[in-house]
């Protein structure tokens, strides 16, 4: 006697096919989101792409941000203002790590004790800059800049070669140290 070709076996096959299709759809959506976000967003996140062996690949955006902060630091340092020393310290400190802020504030306070010419006014010009070294949490940027400082005694031109060390703090680059390369 033949067994009825019941709707059961058909329904079971359809259910299995449906489950497989749903799982593949979920996999495709998950991979699309993961790779799509990584592809479009790696410049926007602090997480670097990595090579196959796990070394970080720094995006152009991260490089540019590090350079921008280093350049801005040099310009603010060059922009000394004898008529508003507190404002000058505040502007520079905004770009510093806590450690460097403490050091800079103390050094400027020592400088002020020597007597700051109230007419002292400086401006800076960035000539060239570049990334010497960078990873997801730290960077070293070289900045070639000139400053022109006007004082009671006259105008002084200075030509600087600074190596600026930066650290990533809460997603932002801050200056942790700098040295004049001589």
């Amino acid at each position: 006697m033949e067994e009825a070709p019941t709707g059961t076996s058909r329904r079971s096959s359809t259910l299995t096919a449906g489950v497989v299709a749903a799982l593949l759809l979920a996999l495709g959506v998950a991979l699309s989101i993961m790779w799509g976000v990584r592809d479009a967003g790696d410049d926007l996140t602090s997480k670097a792409l990595t090579t196959n062996n796990g070394d970080p690949l720094i995006s152009d955006t991260q490089r540019h941000e590090a350079v921008a902060v280093a350049e801005q630091f040099c310009l603010r340092m060059d922009g000394v203002d004898g008529s508003d020393p507190d404002g000058y310290v505040k502007k520079v400190s905004e770009l510093l790590t806590t450690k460097q802020k403490t050091k800079f504030t103390q050094e400027f306070a020592d400088f002020q004790k020597l007597g700051v010419d109230k007419k002292l006014k400086g401006t800076g010009t960035i000539l060239a800059s570049g990334v010497s070294d960078i990873d997801p949490d730290s960077a070293t940027v070289l900045v070639a800049h000139d400053s022109s400082v006007v004082a009671e005694t006259g105008t002084t031109q200075r030509h600087y070669r600074w190596s600026v060390s930066l650290r990533k703090v809460d997603g932002h680059w801050l200056v942790d140290d700098f040295t004049q390369v001589s």
Partner: protein, 289 residues
């Protein structure tokens, strides 16, 4: 074949017209049995099978129709024989063949395959088809994103490698190119030009030769002052990098000794433009700040 005279006909059981075609009967049987799981509605399942059994057999159907009179509700004549069920909803073989029972009719074709005309896919199959299309589309999209991402990784890795390479060559090259000794200017020039592109070489040689010999054949500046210049690279940094061109910021000191004089140190800031030539990086330009 038995049926209650006052009850519904096999046509009623299957929900079809008395003049339904065999295909329509099969389709109706399929629709009716789809609603039941094995064992859950065995009685009704058996009824549908019996209906199909009769109506799909031309001889039985003719007899049955004659019994009905087609237009009226007259019950078909019965001969007391039991019809054999088309099939039981369980795997067990439960019905015993009666002596007079005809052979089981051919079972309608596999209900998974839809009828030839007019019968579409079930709702379940449509849902599965849509899910399948979406799954394929999402996997293709994921594949595209994956390929683009890998390309970005490869490009970025390549640019990073190029930048590091060019930076290292720039340091070596500038040490040679910015150094000279008045006692062997030709050799110094020949050593330096190996690091330069043909284009930049022309400008460099023109300038360098003036250090050796002046316009009227007089000794050049380096020879006249007995200058020995030694270049030392302090730092390098990549200003920008592409696959075949990298600009490198170099802090380079030149220590100059003229005769027996005191050394003077010049703290230079230069940007060297490095270009890829075959496997080598060569200086294509040097800009001093």
């Amino acid at each position: 074949m038995t049926q209650n005279n006052s009850g519904p006909t096999w046509y009623d059981i299957l929900g079809i017209a008395p003049d339904a075609s065999p295909d329509q009967i099969k389709a109706a049987w399929r629709d009716a049995t789809d609603k039941f799981e094995p064992g859950s509605g065995a009685g009704q399942f058996r009824l549908f099978n019996e209906a199909a059994d009769v109506l799909l057999d031309p001889a039985k159907r003719a007899e049955y129709d004659a019994g009905l009179g087609l237009a009226d509700d007259a019950a078909p004549e019965t001969d007391g024989s039991e019809t054999e069920p088309v099939a039981e909803p369980t795997t067990e073989s439960t019905a015993d063949a009666s002596e007079d029972a005809p052979a089981a009719p051919a079972v309608p074709p596999d209900p998974i395959v839809p009828a030839a005309e007019g019968e579409g896919f079930s709702l379940d199959a449509k849902v599965v088809a849509v899910l399948s299309v979406l799954a394929v589309a999402s996997l293709v999209l994921a594949g595209i994103f994956g390929i683009v991402l890998q390309h970005r990784v490869n490009t970025r890795q390549h640019d990073a490698d190029s930048a590091a390479e060019a930076s290292a060559v720039a340091a070596r090259a500038l040490t040679a190119v910015l150094s000279y000794d008045y006692r062997h200017m030709d050799a110094d020039r020949d050593r330096s030009v190996k690091f330069l592109t043909p284009k930049y070489r022309k400008d460099y040689v023109k300038t360098f030769d003036l250090l050796t010999q002046g316009p009227n054949g007089t000794p050049g500046g380096a020879v006249k002052t007995k200058a020995v210049v030694t270049a030392t690279v302090q730092n390098t940094a990549v200003q920008d990098a592409g696959e075949n061109k990298v600009r490198v910021l170099v802090f380079v000191n030149q220590t100059s000794v003229k005769g027996s004089g005191t050394p003077a140190i010049f703290q230079n800031r230069v940007v060297a433009t490095m270009v890829k030539s075959g496997d080598d990086w060569l200086i294509d330009d040097v800009k001093s700040y």
